[in-house]
Amino acid sequence: MWPGLFLQTLITGLSIGGIYALMAVGYSLVFSVLNFSNFAHGAVIMLGAYVGLALASKLSLSFGIVLAGSIAGAGLIAVLNEKLAYSSLRRRKAPSLYLMISAMGCAVFLENLVYATIGSRFYAFPEFFGRQVISIGGSSVSLLDVGAFLFALVAILGLHLFIKRTRTGIAIRAGVSDMTMCSLMGVDLDRLIAIVFLLAGGFAGVAGVFLGIKYLVYPTMGWVTNKAYIAAVIGGLGSLPGALAGGLILGVVETFVSSYISSVMRDVFSFSLLIAFLVWRPNGLWGTDSEEKV
C-alpha cells in the first residue's frame, strides 16, 4: 500500500464517517431522552435531502443557503413527526415499544409519500464543488470530503457545548436521567422534547444534504441510517462523543475494507462489527450504563 492511496482512503473514510456521525448524533439524542429507537430518523434525513435538492435545483441557491434550508426543513419535519406520532403516546406513558412501532410506521409512510408524490427517480444535486480537489501530503482529496468531515466535527462539538453549558442542555441531561423529575424542576417537557427533535432533525438535514451531494437523492436513501445505528452502538448508545467516534471509526474501517479487501465485503463487515459489539461490548466504547446517556 502506497502512502498516497492510504491517505486518500483515510480521508474518504473520515468524510463518510462524519456523515454517519451526524446521523448517529440525532438518533442517539432522541434515544437517550425518550428511550426508544427512532426508526423514522432515516426518513427525516431523506426529506432533508429533498428539501435541499429543491432549493438547489429549483431555486439555484448557494450551498450555504441550501444547507440552512434543509436544516430548518428537516428540523421542522422532525418536530412535526414527534407532535403527530409520538407525543400522545408519550403523554400516556406508553411502553417504548409502542413508540418504536409508531416510528417504523412513520418511516414507511414518509417513504411512500415521497414515492407517491415525487416519484422513485434518483436525483443528483447540482455540482456545488465541481471536481475541486485539494492536495494533502502529496495526494489529492475532494473538497467535499474534507468539508463534510470538518463540518460534522464542528457541528457535533457545538452540540456538545450546547448540552454541557446551556440551560436547555442541562435540562436535556436532567431529562435523560429522569423525565418526571425533570418536569418537577420546572421544565416544560413538551417544549424540551420539541427542542430535542429540532436538533436531531437539524443534524438529519445536514446529513441528508451531504449524502445527497456525495451520492444521490431517492426515497429509500434514509436506510443508510442503519450505519448510524451501528456507529451509535460502537460509540455507546446515547453518548455524543461516542456517536462521533463511532461514526468516524465505522467510516474509516469500512472504506479500508472496500478499497483493500473488497467492496462487496463492506456491509458484511459493518454488520459483523455491530454483532460483535453487541455480544462483547454492548455499552460501546464510551457508553456507561443506561442511566446517564447524553
Binding site: R165, I170, A171, T180, L184, M185, E291, E292
Partner: protein, 267 residues
Amino acid sequence: MKTPGKALLSVKGLTKDFGGIRAVDSFSFDVHEGSITGIIGPNGAGKTTVFNLVTGIYRPTAGSIFFEGEEMAGLRPDKIVRKGIARTFQNIRLFNRRTCLDNVLTPLLQRERCSFTGALFGTPGARRLERELHGRAIELLSALGLGKYASWQANTLPYGLQRKLEIARALATEPKLLLLDEPAAGMNPEETRALADLVAEVRWKFNVTMLLIEHHMDLVMKICTPIVVMNFGALLAAGTPDEVRENPEVVAAYLGKGKKTNECTSG
C-alpha cells in the same frame, strides 16, 4: 395549630380512580401557611397518590386543588412547581450520575433567563450568572450540611445524605410549600431525630410550609400539627397529635378491629 394562618393549600373532594380502583376518594384537607402538616395512614391509604395529584404527576378524576386560591388540578408538573410546590420522593430520585452541585443547579438554572449564546461561548454576563448560581447552590447544600460533598456524584452519597440532597434540590425551586414523602424512611431512631430537627430548621430558614407523609409516629407526633389521617383513600380524622392519637377510629385503622366493633362504628 394554635394560630392557624390562612390555608395555603386547600384540597376539596379530591378523587382519583385507576381503572376500577378508587385510590383517593373525595378527600378534603387544608394546609395552613407556616404549618408542618402530617399525612399518616396505613399502607395503601393513598397518601403518595395525593402527592402525585397535588404536584401534577397525575390528573385528578374529580375535585379541586387550590394553592393560594388558584386552581392547580390539571396543570402540568412544571407549571405547578413554578407556582411554588416542590416535593421529594419516597424512593429517592436524584440525578444519580451528576454531582450534588449539578443536582441543585438544575432547578436553579431553570428559574433564570440566561442567554443561549452567552452560555455557549462563556460571555462575562453568563459567567457572572454562573458564579452567582454556583454560590446559591453551595449555600443550599451547606444549609443541609452537604457543603463538603458538592463535587460528589449523587449516588455515591450515603443514604441519609441522599435524602438531604433531595430536600436541597427541592428547595432550589424556591417553593412556598414543600411536600416530603417519607423523609425518614430507612432511617434509624437517631437519624430520625436529627431529621426532625432538620425539618423544623428548614421551615424557619427557608420560610416554607411543609406537608409530609411519614410512618415514624414519634417523628410525626413531635413535629407535625395538624395531622391528617387517611384510610382507603378517604379522610379518617384530622387534628392535633393528641386528638389523633386518642381517636378510636385511627387506633382501629392502625391496629385492626374485630368484626363486631366494625359494625358498631358509625360511619
